[in-house]
Point group: C2
Chain length 344, copies 2
């Protein structure tokens, strides 16, 4: 028992606090865990000692006794480059960690790395006994992935609706299709007819859904789908937005919808380099509404997606699952919003 109680954490335990406040270990435990049935006088007395010594219960002891570690795993099973070129994951990570902290959970991070054996990595992830539950960011997950997640026997939530078995799995996602449709409908309303699309990384439901929204908006407006106006190789990266736009410029288009803001910004560069004006010659819309959308020239019309909230809902949903307040599957779609700026 350290005497240095002015600052830092001490190595006191429940028993010490109990002795110091003249009650039993059990009572201190009740106070710490906000259990009812502790008299107000006792509670205050104990709380005072706890505060004075800055006592925090030992997490490992608590985890062992309660079989709950208050730890959530965050798995970002994404290829490296995406993580770096698209701020989406950084913002998401921020949202998740903040939400976790606010409910006293610690987030442990799993990131794949290019030069590491993938199967060994996933063995590590799926055999992990530390985390009470898992948040899987990005739905490149397939059936066998979900199977292993299930076998782990602990709750999980996927950010982004998975393609397979999504009826049974828990996820939070943005209304990607609806957002894309809103954007393209907006372009149509502005009188645009030859509207191109720069797609996101294939294999992600977000890409799929945004493309779907684009298609359905055109169909509703009786504009025929021209496959040449849909770039095949977009992947949400800066580079793919630029080269995608270069390709689209070969066909005379009057508008383009990029599946995220990063690609929209680099597409704008390509448009300008071709000597065309935005929005006069080509209108352009993005998706995400991240910081970059406000600094482009002109500012970018985009679909606002609540990335931070995605993390927030994932954490809250996971903990509800963990504490048995809800039954899986937990599924939540978050609304998106069209933000009209000067690029359309």
């Amino acid at each position: 028992m350290s005497t240095d109680f002015d600052n830092g954490i001490t190595d006191l335990n429940l028993e010490d606090i109990a002795r110091l406040s003249g009650v039993s270990r059990s009572t201190v435990s009740r106070v710490v865990n906000h259990h009812p049935n502790v008299s107000e006088i006792t509670r205050r007395k104990v709380l005072e000692i706890i505060e004075r010594y800055n006592f925090k219960p030992h997490p490992a002891a608590r985890a062992l006794a309660s079989q709950r570690a208050n730890i959530i795993g965050i798995l970002i099973p994404h290829i490296v480059s995406d993580l770096f070129t698209d701020p989406f994951f950084s913002i998401l990570l921020q949202g998740i960690t903040t939400a976790a902290n606010s409910v006293n959970y610690s987030p442990v991070l799993w990131l794949t790395s290019a030069n590491v054996d993938e199967s060994a990595f996933y063995d590590q992830v799926f055999n992990d006994r530390l985390a009470d539950g898992m948040i899987v960011a990005s739905a490149t997950v397939n059936a066998s992935f979900i199977k292993r997640l299930d076998q782990r026997g602990k709750p999980y939530i996927i950010i982004g609706r998975p393609f397979t078995a999504y009826e049974q799995s828990s996820y939070v996602d943005s209304e990607n299709e609806q957002g894309a449709r809103m954007m393209v409908e907006h372009l149509i309303k502005q009188g645009r007819r030859r509207i191109g699309m720069i797609t996101g990384r294939s294999g992600l439901t977000s890409s799929h859904d945004r493309l779907q929204g684009y298609i359905s908006a055109l169909q509703h407006a009786d504009i025929p789908i021209d496959m040449r106006l849909i770039t095949p190789a977009g992947d949400y990266s800066d580079a793919s937005g630029y080269t995608g736009m270069k390709l689209l410029l070969h066909h005379r288009i009057d508008a383009v919808f990029a599946a995220n803001d990063v690609m929209a910004a680099s597409a704008m560069r390509a448009i300008k380099e071709a000597g065309l004006r935005i929005p006069e010659d080509i209108a352009i819309g993005g998706f995400d509404d991240m910081g970059i959308a406000r600094t482009t020239e002109p500012p970018l019309t985009t679909v606002q997606q609540p990335i931070t909230q995605l993390g927030d809902y994932a954490v809250r949903g996971l903990i509800d699952l963990l504490e048995g307040r809800v039954e899986p599957p937990f599924q939540q779609m978050l609304p998106v919003k069209l933000i009209v700026r000067q690029s359309t």
Copy 2:
């Protein structure tokens, strides 16, 4: 004890494995922890059972008994925007988590968030009892920060040499000053004389050191320092590189050194928009050598910094500290390398 031992983790414990392999709990523990003094026959027998049932020791129990959780905290005390515009932190995070995984440590993440009370956040961080040690990414740390880190009573390593008290603190850092000097010397050798600099975020030793390298290279070449050629408000962001370059274009310069690649890339945009050629009219150098440096037009000459290794050394250093193999302060400077491409 679950019978589902074909896949997933089971809820077996040491005692169960001991019974199944006909030895005692202690012996299994020795096998699991690679202790000597276990006969080869016994070891194999136990290992076979462990594998068959895919047994993993319960981390909380282990942590409680050994008082070591095998968890390291990663603190990124950075304002939000930086984290998103500069891939540096993403790459670093990747390096840290990969290194941690490889030595069976779990990284828990602490990220500050704009809309969260900062002092409450740091109270949480510094009172954390879970992590055995801490890696602090980015040296915006000041004396009081380091004091609280010390009071926590557990090892820590700072990534980036701190300004204050750096003689006593443990850190890993890149040779920023030397790298910057190499770059500017290279520009001088190419015959450039009016060399501008777009600085990094003030308050970071990396910015300070890179500026210092720029100054010392000029001084060694007897080129007077012109304060007008040093942008005051760079902060490593895309936007600040662009506006910084716009300012520098008012003075006739023949080269510019940007404190990171992100700013160099946006500075290149500004140069092109002004109708100037790279490198004929203005040569430009960056710092970091991230992916972007290879995709700019022309490809960017830059100083390669081993970001992933920074994380790697931090983890290894921290664990050496943790296991008492080295005494603090642990200090390590990593070499950088000039990569000449076509922008100079």
